[in-house]
């Protein structure tokens, strides 16, 4: 037998969600009975419709109230009645002035999401590393370093041997862990290479901190490695990586022994892609752990019942002994202090070497930045409320005559602003959900442990917002004298100085313009970095990771493809953190840092590096390294070997061992990070280090077909290796174009702009309303529409001009300031600025024009009839 037909389930849920539970039972019973009955009468389809209609009809306030006996037994205290009345009157006022309420609510609810996001981040900062067991007993040892000149540097880090020393020599320490971070790693599985953040940790790190394994075991032996879930996915997809190895260019091969379960990287200071044993750090350094370098972070787990204060006392006693260990050669004295795990983030003071931890100062500066938008929206509220004070002044007068006191009136106005702020909070939360589902920004976290706190924080935040926005209007409005107001002794202009309102508009537009200029400039620079072909040629370069399979036959075959113009080799593509090396003039001099690329002449050619003196590398068609190098201008400058021409033929020492002759000098160019200062770069022909094959192609329209042609050739020569290749320009575009971030920033600038326009509309509508009669009289006297429009908009045009006058220099200053951090920048794009300025001012003028035009269209007969 079929199941009996059921009414639409969502409607039933809706009823249960909204009705008081005691009523829901009888109502659902009634609904169900009617439904079954109606199936017989009018059919299933219409019965369902009737069911939905009935549910909706039941959702009326009188039925949603709590059950009646409760309602009658407890008389509502007089206070709540009064508050209810405040809210009721506030609500009626909102409805009465629909346009202004709309402007206020829309503006605020657009501004609120970004502030809420900032609040979520702040709550998150307070919830760092709360998921470790016994986290209240874990402390970090931080170091105050007193230098010879008496200055004290505060370090979050400490000497590497400290943990073991303290555990051995101090009482009441259950366990200790040392970690050393290295953010400059890269690992390769032979096919793919990835920049990696690594943590060197000893075995006890996993005892102190709770990072459970997904599979495998923790590291113990040197050259073993534990991957984060994401890193494992990146290298191996869903295959089991245990037993495989990853290759570090300098430190050799690491055997994978374990994979961590996924954890939220945003909620911990131990953000990392891989964890390797601490022993490897010593191996990499090639010297035993030393006391002078503050490279490690030391964590202690103290015995239950032991306080941080006693530990601090112990630590200050040991400091002297450790200073002895450091020895007199060092010029510094170290003082150690314990810092409970929960105090680490957010940090009260800025500590050196404290990655992923924000200090209170910068957190609140960031919040303040987000609050600017809220401030702009609140200015709208203040501005509009003051502007409308004429219509409210009567109300104030009458209420005062009836005996209302000033505090009561203030409370009334505050209720209004708070009501608006809470309605906006509701809409803002919806927008926030929308943003959460649409925009994915890695540095944003949405997970918060204490959701209750967050909600409370939101509510309190909006209460403060409402009170702050309502403060000055409520004071001004409630101070009116009933006599003068009711006698209409105050002229419209007398309420809230027009100068104040005008300056608010100027402020809003200046801020909006500056922010938009800022985003425009950021875009200008990012676009340059993403599409740059000036430093080196990116377009039409196809890079193939050779994975150690350098075969001439493949190269010859690829060279026959019609689109391929040139085949070059390099040890590493530009744009990735390059290999470090050193240069010096003579064997026994101190070395200077330099970057090193092993390339062939074709690569330098296709990158279109400008050779300013000498020649390109010489193609030797041999597998042996050549003792001739090409350097950049900075190398010549750093080594002080005269002009670029004079440098040709000079002998230098590269990487301590190789004596090489300079045969060419190329112009300085940005080969990886745009904000890094120019450093010496050395190019050498050294086929044994070639890792990447670069193909310079003709500008092809259909990249896909070329890719598959090359892949076919690769398959023929390397049947067991999949091709790992990509286009240099798309690679660099992905690297430098932070799409999500730009999306968010773009959204914010639009919001600021909309808020400013809303404010403008509010004031426009108000001031035109005030001048309706004037307009009509002018028209009767013979003014044309154009003249009226001109008259009405002159004021606003002036204000916009002032705002632009403030914003343009400020925007240029910000752009120059940002450029001062970027060694390679694209300059200030005045064209972009001009375009943005025209867009903003254009829309604003359009708004002014439209409303003035509308005002000019009024028929004088109708407006003057009433007088």
């Amino acid at each position: 037998m079929n199941k009996p037909p059921r009414p639409p389930r969502w409607a039933t849920y809706l009823l249960h969600g909204l009705c008081p539970p005691r009523r829901a039972e009888e109502l659902e019973g009634d609904l169900d009975e009617l439904f079954q009955q109606r199936i017989g009468e009018v059919g299933l389809h219409r019965a369902r419709w009737r069911y939905i209609r009935d549910v909706l009809s039941l959702l009326r306030p009188s039925l949603l109230k709590p059950h009646q006996p409760y309602y009658l037994t407890y008389p509502t205290p007089a206070n709540t009645v009064m508050l209810q009345n405040y809210v009721k009157i506030a609500w009626r006022n909102l409805l009465k002035h629909k346009l202004f309420s709309f402007i206020n609510i829309l503006g605020l609810s657009l501004a609120i999401p970004s502030a809420l996001m900032a609040l979520i981040q702040i709550v998150n900062y307070y919830e760092y590393d709360t998921f470790h067991s016994d986290s209240d007993r874990i402390v970090r040892v931080i170091t105050d370093e007193k230098q010879k000149n008496g200055e004290i540097a505060n370090w979050a880090s400490s000497p590497e041997p400290l943990a073991k020393y303290l555990q051995k020599n101090l009482t009441g320490i259950d366990n200790s862990a040392t970690i050393v971070r290295d953010a400059d790693w890269s690992l390769s599985n032979g096919i793919k290479t990835k920049g990696i953040h690594a943590i060197h940790a000893d075995a006890s790190f996993f005892q102190l901190f709770n990072f459970p394994l997904e599979k495998g075991a923790y590291t113990a032996e040197p050259n073993t490695i534990v991957l984060s879930h994401e890193t494992s996915q990146w290298f191996f997809k869903d295959a089991n990586p245990i037993g495989n190895s990853l290759e570090h260019p300098a430190y050799g091969s690491f055997k994978i022994v374990g994979v961590l379960k996924p954890f939220n990287q945003q909620k911990t200071q131990f953000r990392t892609d891989v964890i390797v044993p601490l022993a490897n750090y010593a191996l990499a350094n090639g010297k035993p752990a030393n006391w002078t370098a503050l490279s490690a972070h030391t964590f202690l787990k103290i015995a239950p019942g032991k306080t941080v204060a006693t530990l601090n006392k112990q630590l200050s006693e040991t400091s002297a002994e450790i200073d002895k260990l450091i020895g007199p050669t060092s010029n510094t004295k170290l003082f150690f202090k314990a810092q409970p795990l929960s105090d680490i983030s957010p940090s009260k003071d800025v500590l050196e070497n404290d990655p992923y931890v924000q200090d209170l100062g910068s957190i609140y500066v960031n919040l303040a930045f987000q609050l600017i938008m809220i401030l702009l929206a609140s200015l709208n509220y203040i501005n509009l409320t003051l502007a409308r004070s004429v219509s409210r002044s009567r109300e104030v007068g009458v209420r005062k005559v009836m005996g209302a006191t000033k505090p009561q009136l203030i409370l009334q106005f505050l209720t209004e602003s708070t009501l608006i702020s809470y309605i906006s909070l509701g809409i803002g939360l919806l927008l926030l959900l929308l943003i959460k589902s649409q925009v994915h920004v890695s540095w944003l976290t949405w997970d918060v442990d204490h959701l209750g706190y967050l909600i409370l924080l939101f509510l309190v935040f909006n209460l403060i917002l409402g009170l702050a926005a309502g403060f000055s209007p409520s004071i001004i409005l409630s101070s009116y004298q009933p006599v003068s107001v009711l006698k209409r002794a105050l002229s419209p202009g007398g309420f809230g100085k027009m100068g104040l309102r005008k300056s608010l508009i100027v402020i809003q537009f200046s801020i909006a313009l500056v922010y938009i200029f800022f985003i425009g400039h950021a875009y200008h620079q990012i676009d340059y970095m993403a599409n740059d072909n000036e430093n080196y040629q990116r377009a039409n370069v196809y890079t193939i990771n050779l994975a150690g399979n350098l075969t001439n036959r493949f190269a010859t075959d690829v060279g026959t493809v019609k689109e391929v113009q040139q085949v070059g080799y390099t040890s590493l593509n530009f744009g990735i953190s390059p290999t470090r090396s050193s240069i010096k003039n003579r064997k026994n001099e101190a070395a200077r840092p330099a970057f090193y690329y092993a390339v062939d002449p074709a690569f330098i050619n296709m990158m279109q590096l400008k050779v300013v003196a000498g020649t390109n590398l010489i193609d030797r068609h041999s597998t042996l390294p050549s003792p001739m190098v090409v350097v950049n201008q900075k190398t010549v400058e750093d080594l002080r070997i005269g002009s670029e021409r004079e440098a040709i033929g000079k002998l230098i020492v590269v990487n301590d061992t190789l004596s090489a002759t300079i045969i060419g000098v190329v112009a300085n160019f940005c080969h990886y990070d745009y904000e890094r200062k120019i450093e010496p770069v050395v190019f050498q022909y050294n086929p044994s280090l070639f890792k990447v094959m670069c193909l310079k192609t003709s500008p092809v329209a259909d990249r896909k077909s070329l890719e598959s042609a090359i892949e076919g050739l690769w398959k023929r020569h390397n049947p067991y290796l999949s091709l790992n290749a990509s286009w240099l320009d798309t690679d660099m575009y992905d690297r430098y174009y932070p799409y999500e971030y730009m999306q968010l920033a773009g959204l914010e600038s639009i919001v600021i702009f909309v808020i400013a326009i809303l404010g403008l509309i509010g004031i426009l509508v108000y001031s035109l309303e005030k001048r309706t009669k004037e307009i009509s009289i002018r028209k009767v006297m013979g003014a044309t529409s154009a003249e009226v429009i001109q008259l009405m908009s002159t004021d606003f045009v002036k204000l916009l001009a002032i705002a632009a006058g403030i914003a343009i220099p400020a925007g240029i200053a910000i752009a120059l300031y940002m450029n001062s951090y970027l060694i390679f920048n694209n300059g200030v794009s005045y064209l972009t600025m001009l375009f943005l300025l025209l867009a903003v001012i254009g829309v604003a003028l359009g708004t002014v024009g439209f409303f003035s035009w509308k005002a000019a269209q009024t028929n004088p007969a109708t407006t003057l009839k009433v007088d």
Binding site: E25, E26, L27, E28, G29, D30, L31, D32, E33, L34, Q37, R50, R53, D54, L56, S57, L58, L59, R60, S62, L63, Q68
Partner: protein, 108 residues
């Protein structure tokens, strides 16, 4: 307490409760009204009217026993109070009085 004015729909609902006395719950009232007046009414309107009538003290209600036909859900049964009965009679009397006041010549 709300005013004691009896609206037209409230009057109809109150009459329906009286007709179905003893078994007057939401669906019964809806059915009664639909049958008598030949128009469809929404459950919400009826419940809201019953609610108002109760607030005015014209009807009383209590939860009935569970029955199998409604999946074990109980009904709320309404009864007309003495005050309610008087209100109905007053309305009727008022109508009668007004009918009587129409002059004989009006429709002749």
């Amino acid at each position: 307490m709300k005013g004691t004015y009896l609206g037209e729909f409230e009057e109809v609902v109150l009459l329906a409760v009286a007709i179905r006395s003893g078994d007057a719950y939401g669906v019964a009232v809806v059915n009664e009204i639909e049958q008598q007046m030949g128009r469809s009414v929404s459950l919400g309107a009826v419940h809201s009217a019953l609610n108002r009538l109760q607030e005015k003290g014209l009807v009383d209600s209590e939860l009935g026993g569970a029955t199998a036909e409604r999946g074990g859900r109980r009904k709320r049964l309404y009864t007309v109070t003495a005050y309610g009965r008087r209100a109905l009679e007053e309305v009727r009397q008022l109508r009668n009085q007004m009918w009587a006041a129409i002059p004989q010549t009006t429709w002749s």
